[in-house]
Amino acid sequence: MSTVAPLLSVQRVTYRYPGAPGDALRDVSLEIRAGEFHAVLGPNGSGKTTLVRVALGLAAPATGTAEIAGRAAVAWSRRDLARIVGVVAQREDNLFPQQVRETVLLGRYPHLSLWGAERPVDREAVTRALERCDALGLADRWIWTLSGGEYQRVRLARALAQEPSMLVLDEPTASLDVRHEMDLFELARGLVDAGGLAVLMITHHVNLAARFADRVLLLADGQTAAQGTPRTVLTRETVERVFAWPVAIEPFDGHPQMIPLRQRRQPREPA
Amino acid sequence: MRRLLFALLLAVACRPTADRLSVPATAHRIVSLAPSSTELLFAIGAGEQVVGRTTWCRYPAAALRVPAVGDGLNPNVEAIAARQPDLVVLYRSQMNETAAQQLARLGIPTVTLAQDRLEDIAHAARELGRLTGHQPAGDSIGAAIETLLRAPTPATIARVTFVVWDNPPMVIGGGSYLDQLATLAGARNVFHDIAGASATVSIETIIARNPDVILVLSDSTAPPAYSARREWRAIRAVREGHFIMLPGDLFGRPSPSAPAAVAALRHALEVRK
């Protein structure tokens, strides 16, 4: 148990959307410290995105507490919070054409004063962020010319330009191909190892999460199904129960990998 | 076969217009769809024969007793037909052509009269006189206006402009009956060169043309509201308060009272000096 104060601390929160029949989250806890890579897994509708919203103060829990750097998440001003946490949301709808450097520069907003202009230190932060994401070569491109994988790296660079202590990534590899998926996970891992960042990633990719994350939270129906290291969480019984599908768990490189099994089915009788 | 076709074409081509065909010798139930024609009908003594008017027809006072059939700008054919007219008097315009056709289909005779300028009123007076059995009265009014128009143009005793609206500034041009009245009264409309009945102009154009008097169609004696505004006071006539108010009953539309209107305007201009 580390004695360093957690960056993000969610203790036994319960949350229900207004007008919903059941709780979206029930009695869920999560602690993230610097230098840790956490993955949140679970089937659709298990409460992953809700958890992140509560953790970041966008929704107030009915019971339990959510704190960032020791202060209640809802008490943070959005600007101050943006200096600590960089978020890459699931979707972004950038209507207007921009160049990469411009869009990454938007990440400096929390550090700019109301009337002041962008300073050299801001432009340097942008360059550094692009470098860390291996996207410096894209700096002068227009964003509509980028591939999906390149655009994701640019969004990550924007979050890094905020110079946060923690990154929150919501399904960042959805619709990316193998190469770009691996790229992104390696990138995230590298930021944690070299930069001391904390990373919270929501993902469907159980196997990559198992290989890259330090700790895993598996949600089912808004409740914690299992929490801990990948090896302790990803057991056949747990996974089968949560995902309602038969699997085999095979080790690879010291990490458990989930392999979904085919259902034994009778061939269909012709009608 | 060809001869039959030709005869058919001839018959169709020569079909007379409705108003020529079935207009009665003397109309007894007349619906008038323009203030000028309503006023004319009463002026020639055919007031008793008017059974319908528009809501804008308010002169003379006796006309108010006649039931209204709508505002007349887009004629309400049903309301008109409900009055069971044997003649409908229309003001010449695009929209009224359609109304005339609709009324013809219902078997109601119509007559369309231009009513924009004084000579139109003279002609309308004679025509309506003939149609209503008041020919002498109609001819007399027509002759009076024609005499007025034929008289030599008097010398100009004042340069004027009619301002009908302030934002945007709208003035009367050479095409309007008001311009005619002014000329006959010895006033020169500084915007006579504009061909239409009215036009939007800049205030600076009014200043440049420097009228002596501003003529306003108004039944009250108070100067118009815009005379207090700073940009209007740049016009000399506004600044110095040279307004002449023209009451609606004489000046509101081209009317058989044109001779009286001209005399009233001339008097007002002379008294001003």
């Binding site: 054409p97 938007l106 202009a117 | 709208m170 205030i203 600076e204």
Partner: protein
């Protein structure tokens, strides 16, 4: 830097031509002493600059707020409210030279409040798409009431009220300029302060929140400030279309989506455009005058078509 000099030069040229040119001939030597120039042309030119500028900034801000580059300040029902206010003032015989503009202003604000209320879905959140729909609905509604009043009433004055609504700067005087000059700085400053957050809003409300923007207060402030600018413009000069729509697009071609540069550029650009359009309106059919809204449309539509092709081009 050169771009700003170019724009400043354009504004200067527009101002000079608005003062020197006009339906009444004023010799160059007489310019400073001429009553026409001092009392009419100079205040009218200044008013065109301020009104055009306000519409340009309001348009740019609203396009960022509703995240739709085809938004125009008059999409939000304000013109309908202004027209209704003006017509009611005439119908009720409200006296005074400022009656019409004040009534139009109050009507526009009423429409703004109604659209705002309708745009609040689920309690506290302002949904820009609903805002647009509500604006169109309120505009249609007020337009219908106005038309009904005008067609049922009997005063000829009421029909002329519609002419005012078509847009024109003939009501310009030093008094009008003073009122507008005192009024617009506050909304302009509010919008300039919102310039950076508007850049963020272009990414979407959620990403903007994560980047540190307070999205709900931002939307409220921008909507109210842009509406106040538009309401004042309508009150003094009727509905002048296309300026708020076109000018942000043109300035975006040069300054991009950086609102801290775009908003001032839109102000200057809008002012220049309206100045040129008004000069054309006054001079082209002298002694008559065209409604300036017609000139901005005649210039704006082809310009817009060209821009649309450029805009759709790279993304296509």
């Amino acid at each position: 830097m050169r771009r700003w000099l170019g724009l400043a030069g354009l504004v200067a040229l527009a101002l000079v031509s608005a003062v020197v040119l006009g339906p009444a001939h004023v010799a160059l030597g007489d310019l400073t002493s001429s009553e026409i120039v001092r009392s009419l042309r100079v205040p009218r030119a200044l008013l065109a600059l301020l009104v055009g500028g306000s519409l340009g900034v309001a348009g740019a801000s609203l396009q960022a707020l509703v995240r739709n580059p085809l938004a125009d300040p008059f999409l939000l029902g304000l013109s309908g409210g202004a027209g209704l206010g003006a017509v009611l003032a005439i119908a009720l015989h409200v006296a005074g030279p400022w009656a019409l503009p004040l009534a139009a202003f109050v009507g526009a604000l009423g429409a703004m409040a109604l659209v705002y209320r309708l745009g609040l879905v689920g309690g506290a959140q302002l949904d820009p798409r609903v805002l647009l729909l509500a604006g169109v609905a309120v505009g249609a509604f007020t337009g219908a009431i106005t038309t009904a009043i005008v067609s049922l009433a009997e005063a000829a004055d009421l029909r002329n009220a519609f002419l005012w609504l078509w847009g024109g700067l003939s009501g310009a005087s030093w008094d009008t300029v003073l009122v507008i000059a005192v009024y617009i700085p506050v909304p302009l400053v509010v919008l300039y302060a919102a310039a950076r957050p508007l850049d963020l809003l272009a990414l979407g409300e959620e990403p903007a929140t994560h980047l540190g923007a307070d999205v709900e207060p931002l939307k409220r402030r921008v909507y109210i400030a842009a509406s106040m600018l538009t309401a004042a413009a309508v009150a003094v000069s009727g509905v002048i279309g296309f300026v708020g729509l076109i000018v942000p697009h043109i300035t975006r071609l040069v300054w991009g989506h950086h609102h801290r540069a775009l908003l001032p550029a839109a102000f200057l650009g809008g002012g220049a455009l309206l100045l040129f359009a008004d000069t054309v309106a006054r001079v082209s059919v002298a002694p008559r005058e065209l409604p300036v809204g017609i000139v901005t449309a005649l210039v704006g539509v082809p310009l817009f078509a060209v821009l649309l092709r450029r805009w759709m081009g790279p993304r296509g």
